[in-house]
């Protein structure tokens, strides 16, 4: 960033003594525009010494996926995005047959169980009930009086969301694939932590009269940012970052206007 051509130094008008052309003694002054010495790069130093980088929603050490960062003035947009309370989408991979103390496959083993009785049908039933109870929690924590006509209209459109603090809520969950003992779920959620998702995997295992651990948590969407907008490790250079910021600007602006009015 510092290597990029910076701002041209300010110019000001100074009255300089005229170059002594002929014999000296002439004390005339000539106005000339000269760059301000204070703006000289060697005086000022590098333009960027520190960058203010803020992080969006937290991502665990063991999880992976889209991680939103704001740079400089973009941090203000970060707080606005947080207040929008948009859903995040995760791909959660799990393994039946084991239960560990921290719900992931690297933890201390607590119990091993059989899992051959699990079918896709049973898993879908459990997921349907998880969705149902979380939908109810969504309506309850949204702090809207259920007796009003506008609450009814928002509920019909599916726009009721908690706009303040709330416990983690799963808005949608579905099974992408089930090949015993592994399975993969897609979870849309609000206000969650990755450990909460691992706990959900563990509880699904318990509900199916077996046990499950979580092998993979990957965030594929965070509000308006999807995997396509995310930069890979090899792309962490100035040009790609600048391009990414430029591409996402419009999306972020429209989303903020839509939600916060």
């Amino acid at each position: 960033l510092n290597a990029a051509p910076g701002r041209a130094p300010r110019q000001h008008v100074r009255f300089l003594p005229a170059p002594a052309g002929s014999d000296g003694g002439e004390t005339g002054l000539v106005a000339a525009r000269v760059p301000v010495l204070a703006d000289h790069p060697l005086v000022r130093g590098p333009r960027f010494r520190r960058l203010k980088i803020g992080a969006g929603h937290r991502l665990d050490v063991k999880a992976s996926g889209v991680f939103v960062l704001g740079i400089g003035h973009g941090n203000k947009l970060l707080t606005d995005l947080y207040n929008c309370h948009l859903t995040k989408v995760y791909t959660v991979g799990g393994l039946f047959g084991k239960a560990t103390d921290d719900f992931s496959d690297t933890g201390k083993l607590v119990e091993k169980t059989t899992f051959d009785h699990i079918t896709r049908e049973k898993l879908e039933r459990i997921l349907a009930v998880i969705q149902g109870t979380n939908h109810k929690a969504l309506l309850m924590h949204s702090n809207i009086d259920m007796k009003t006509q506008e609450a009814y209209e928002l509920a019909v459109k599916g726009l009721i969301r908690p706009m303040g603090k709330s416990p983690p809520i799963i808005t949608a969950i579905r099974c992408l694939q089930l090949t015993l003992p592994e399975f993969q779920l897609e979870i849309h959620c609000l206000h969650e932590t990755q450990q909460y998702l691992r706990k959900i995997v563990h509880e699904i295992g318990l509900e199916l009269k077996s046990s499950a651990v979580c092998t993979q948590v990957r965030r594929i969407r965070d509000g308006v940012f999807t995997l396509d907008d995310a930069l890979l490790r090899t792309q962490w250079n100035l040009q790609s970052i600048q391009n990414a910021i430029w591409d996402c600007q419009l999306k972020v602006k429209t989303e903020l206007e839509k939600t916060l009015g």
Binding site: E111, K147, G158, K209
Partner: protein, 454 residues
């Protein structure tokens, strides 16, 4: 070291070379190989086998002091720390001896029936002041009966072949109940002051502690469905005919007059010759669905239930209701509102009261559709459909094909089961730990039949 020490002492006897007992070492972090071996050596527990069956359960909720919930400790606590629970606001599991196949909720009482060939097929609980649960002999005084039955108690039926006949369905009205069997007709018990039990009205009959259970067999073909209204009874036969008896002042018997009928008589009007596949009633209005998807109504129309065809408030002949909402699959009648389910899975409501479209819709004579997104339908779940609709006196219930139960309406004494005491103006999910198979709605309580998940 110790050998040298010992050797240094003069004249000391050398002890035999002892086993070196060092101090116990701490466990230390186990290596990956040790962990893996420990994991593989761990025992595997089996909680459910491959052929594990899903269990059938019964859940109850609502007002408990009438005994209709069947949990005696809610009314009379058996242990010192328990307090009497007037209202059970969320579903509570009821332990039953057999698998229950049919449930009906009346006005303060409940009937559960199982289709077994055992001698005891029907259990009843709740109010018994008109012997709507048969004669329940009191333990304390063998000549008297109970007025309130707090636990599911067996109802003795006078069957000719008790170990072969099966009970197909039960139905409960305000103070009478009907039990349908597969080969021995319909048994009726309870209040008969309007002839709703299908027998002649006896003046000043004492209905309390009565042993009388009447049997009805004379119909044109086998009775397939029995429905109780508030003070009248409807019978649907296999040929598609509908019979009615009981009070008719609102025209709910549909026989063309406003008098009492004490013998089941066939209905005419617009349903003559039509093959009816479902009948429904709970208050004073009745609805019937034909196999072609048409709907017929008769009875009380003070709440605009039949206002689409007539201005009169009492309709005593079945009239066809020409709604253009699609082929109708199922209908349910409540006290003031009606609900139908079409073949596409859409739910329509009309009538008066809390209809389910917000607080602004209080009454309508024309059916209004409830948006499917309120039942969980969305782009993420496009397969969700409503499978059944049921009606209580001022509540509605809908069951989806995923086994979720949605209720709305007036929350009389906690009967909605949502956990809150407020009225619900749009469909709200009831959290039941299982897949709801069927639900029966009463005035202030509800009973559901649930299959466990795994």
């Amino acid at each position: 070291v110790s050998a040298a020490m010992w050797g240094a002492l003069r004249g000391a006897r050398r002890p035999p070379p002892a086993l070196r007992r060092g101090l116990a070492k701490p466990a230390g972090p186990r290596s990956v190989r040790q962990l893996r071996e420990a994991e593989e050596a761990a025992p595997v527990f089996q909680y459910a086998g491959k052929a594990a069956k899903r269990k059938d359960r019964v859940f109850v909720w609502g007002f408990s002091y009438s005994g209709a919930l069947g949990v005696p400790s809610f009314v009379k606590p058996d242990v010192g720390w328990k307090k009497p629970r007037r209202i059970q606001a969320t579903p509570y599991r009821l332990e039953t001896a057999e698998k229950i196949s049919s449930v009906a909720c009346g006005y303060g009482f409940t009937l559960l029936s199982s289709n077994t060939t055992d001698i005891i097929k029907v259990w009843g609980m709740g109010l018994n002041k008109d012997s709507q649960l048969g004669f329940q002999r009191s333990i304390r005084d063998r000549t008297k009966g109970y007025e309130y039955v707090l636990e599911p108690s067996p109802i003795p039926l006078p069957l000719e072949k008790p170990q072969q006949t099966r009970v197909l369905q039960v139905s409960c009205g305000r103070a009478h109940s009907l039990i349908l069997t597969d080969s021995e007709g319909v048994f009726t018990m309870g209040n008969n002051s309007y002839g709703q039990c299908g027998r002649k009205v006896v003046e000043d009959e004492a209905y309390s502690e009565s042993h009388l259970i009447h049997q009805l067999k004379e119909f044109d073909s086998t009775v397939v469905q029995v429905v109780c209204g508030q003070d009248h009874s409807l019978f649907r036969t296999k040929k598609g005919a509908v019979y009615a008896c009981g009070w008719g002042a609102d025209g709910q018997t549909g026989l063309g007059h406003y008098n009492i009928t004490s013998v089941p008589t066939k209905l005419r009007g617009d349903i003559a010759g039509v093959n009816i596949i479902q009948v429904s009633s709970y208050g004073d209005c009745c609805l019937a669905v034909s196999d072609e998807g048409d709907i017929f109504g008769w009875g009380n129309s003070e709440y605009l239930q039949l206002a689409s065809v007539t201005e009169t408030t009492q309709v005593n002949v079945p009239r066809h209701l020409p709604f253009k909402i699609g082929k109708i699959k199922e209908a349910a009648c409540g006290g003031t509102g009606n609900i139908v389910l079409t073949e596409e899975g859409n739910v329509f409501v009309w009538g008066y009261g809390i209809l389910g479209k917000g607080p602004n819709l209080i009454e309508t004579a024309v059916p209004e559709m409830i948006p499917p997104s309120l039942f969980g339908w969305s782009d993420f779940n496009p397969d969700i459909r409503v499978a059944h609709v049921r009606c209580g006196l001022s509540q509605f219930a809908a069951l989806t094909n995923r086994g979720e139960l949605f209720v709305w309406g007036k929350n009389l004494r906690g009967c909605l089961g949502t956990g809150r005491m407020e009225d619900q103006y749009f469909p709200w999910r009831v959290t039941v730990p299982g897949e709801v198979v069927d639900v029966a709605c009463g005035v202030d309580h509800m009973v559901s039949m649930v299959k466990s998940f795994t």
